[in-house]
């Protein structure tokens, strides 16, 4: 396979420089097509959280790049990720977002598939010759692996193990999952929205602390003084680290890296009503642990190309076209945890996220302004040089910048360049 080229003949990978990218990265449909092939069809892509399919027969619809897939759990409890396309004449076999079923039956001619994707039933099979081989006509299966409940799939049979791919992010994912406070982390509903803009604009944003005090001023103003102080992190000790393979972590609130450390710190005022409620049924140390978990972590882990463990929720992006992207903000709860704590988590999610949140709509407005803006000056670059020259070397011997450095974006774009050169 030769590296993809622009219509002009230039290699697409030339569009990424160490400190800037070219505008065509957001606007050229040929680049989008190549990204679906070279990135979304080659590496691990987040498809589900294990708690969405807890029981045998459970399924949830998802996407790998542009391809619709079904994530299923079979009778034996194993996960499968199957392309949602009947092997006969191509109809989707599932149009529901989530559910439980013993089999997936194509509505067109009735071909039936088990939850592991194997073809079980073909009506009037005598219409085929004796060498008709059902065993070769199962739903197309992807590679599937899981880490800490995060389920990833790959269309590439040769892909490295998920563990190797996630690499240095695993430590941070482990820390992120401490917001279960000892209970298993489960998903608790989601907000989905689309914006007219390229998927990489959202990818950048998860590792962009620079915009926070500007775009999210109305959110910060809606908090009490103490919380306002917590969310004022520019110019402080936070940092951004390149974690390799295009991944990065942005630490905004260093005190909230390890939610189980320093549990004796005072409980913030805005969590006192919850703490008092929990104190009726839980010992003091457990109350502190749960309350700390409810507030979420102080960092975003950006997992290239489509997922993030973002403070207190999962952020999943889905490219739709060069100028359209869908974003899911999936709420997190504690499976079997105190109802008051899970309720508080839902209210916190609603406060920032979603089409009526105090944060997301302003992000969306900024991103679509980018897409509109880059119609002008197509010869001008997009600058991702903030913090370059001021970085140090991380424990992993990778670049580490200040909290508002564009280190994470550079990490993602260098991975993009590597994959688009292969």
């Amino acid at each position: 396979m030769t590296a993809p080229r622009l219509a002009s003949g230039r290699p697409m990978s030339d569009l990424v420089l160490p400190d800037r990218i070219e505008t065509a990265m957001y606007t050229d449909p040929d680049i989008f097509t190549a990204e679906m092939e070279r990135i979304f069809s080659k590496t691990w892509v987040w498809v589900a959280h294990a708690s969405e399919v807890p029981n045998p027969g459970d399924f949830v619809s998802s996407f790998v790049g542009l391809q619709p897939v079904i994530v299923t759990r079979d009778r034996k409890g194993r996960l499968h990720v199957l392309v949602n396309r009947c092997r006969h004449r191509g109809a989707t076999v599932c149009e529901r977002r989530q559910g439980n079923a013993t089999s997936l039956v194509c509505p067109y001619h009735g071909w039936g598939y088990a939850q592991d994707g194997s073809l079980r039933g073909v009506p009037y099979v005598e219409g085929y010759t004796g060498d008709f081989d059902k065993s070769s006509l199962g739903l197309k299966a992807l590679r599937v692996e899981e880490y800490q409940g995060l389920v990833f799939a790959s269309l590439n049979p040769e892909v490295e193990t998920l563990s190797d791919y996630l690499g240095h992010t695993k430590l941070w994912i482990d820390l992120f999952m401490k917001q279960g406070a000892g209970y298993p982390v489960k998903t608790s509903g989601e907000h989905r929205f689309r914006f007219p803009g390229n998927w990489k604009i959202q990818l950048e944003n998860t590792t962009d602390a620079y915009h926070f005090p500007i775009v999210h001023r109305p959110f910060i103003e809606s908090l009490d003084k103490q919380a306002e102080e917590t969310f004022t992190f520019l110019g402080r000790e936070g940092f951004v680290e390149d974690l390799g393979n295009g991944h990065s972590v942005m630490v905004m609130i260093p005190e909230l890296i390890d939610l189980e450390a320093n549990l004796d710190a005072p409980i913030p005022d805005r969590f006192l009503p919850l703490a008092n409620e929990l104190a009726k049924t839980h010992p003091p140390q457990e109350v502190r642990r749960i309350v700390r978990a409810v507030g979420g972590t102080g960092f975003n882990v950006n997992i290239f190309p489509n997922a993030a463990c973002s403070m207190a929720f999962f952020r999943i992006l889905r490219p739709i076209s060069v100028r359209e992207t869908e974003v899911r903000h999936i709420a997190i709860g504690m499976e079997g945890g105190p109802a008051a704590a899970n309720r508080a988590r839902l209210r916190l999610h609603e406060h920032f996220q979603g089409p009526m949140g105090f944060g997301s709509p302003d992000d969306v407005e900024a991103w679509q302004r980018v897409q509109r803006g880059v119609q002008g000056g197509p010869d001008l670059p997009l600058m991702v040089n903030r913090g370059l020259g001021l970085e140090s070397s991380s424990v992993n011997h990778l670049p580490k910048g200040g909290v508002s450095a564009e280190t994470g974006m550079r990490a993602a774009y260098q991975m993009w360049k590597r994959m688009m050169s292969a």
């Binding site: 689309r194 839902l346 979603g354 089409p355 009526m356 709509p361 302003d362």
Partner: protein, 167 residues
């Protein structure tokens, strides 16, 4: 207790009274007169927009909005504050509410089901939102107040655009 208050508290709230309040609210929202809107509510009331139109247990499921009095105040401050780039300028809206049914009616409260069609306009784009709306109205003193409003968008589970106003 005067004869007047006895007669008010003994008669069930009528559909006409309820519709008068619901249309007043609709007009205030389309004119973005949010301060007057806040005054229509009981102190304990909730303004709810669920993510799942079939959900009934709103406090324990994810919503787009689950607003008590404090949250309604904060939401209004955000919409009129001028710092939220998504709502400055706000979209214009025109809404029609109809298909009213009185589901419960007593002297102190009533429950009304109705349909809402709302057209939103901003930056050369119109969008249509259809919703089933359930109101719980409460009579306190002589006034009828909003005690609960649940807006179930028919496409609530889909990817939605930003809402820079109140449904």
């Amino acid at each position: 207790m005067t004869a007047m208050t006895v007669s008010i508290s003994n008669s069930a709230i009528s559909l006409d009274e309820a519709i008068t309040l619901i249309w007043t609210e609709a007009d205030l929202l389309d004119r973005r007169d949010y301060e007057s809107w806040l005054a229509l509510w009981t102190r304990e009331g909730h303004y709810v927009i669920p993510v799942d139109p079939d959900a009934r247990d709103h406090v324990d499921t994810l919503n787009y909005a689950y607003d008590d009095a404090d949250m309604r105040r904060m939401r209004v401050d955000r919409l009129v504050g001028g710092h939220a780039i998504s709502s400055t300028p706000a979209a214009r809206s025109v809404r029609i509410l109809s298909r009213f049914r009185l589901m419960e009616a007593g002297p102190a409260h009533c429950v009304v089901h109705c349909a809402q069609h709302l057209v939103e306009y901003k930056f050369e784009r119109q969008r249509l939102y259809a919703a089933d709306v359930t109101y719980r109205l409460t009579r306190s003193d002589a006034d009828l107040k909003l005690d609960e409003k649940v807006v179930r968008l028919i496409n609530a589970g889909d990817a939605l655009g930003s809402l820079s106003y109140l449904l």
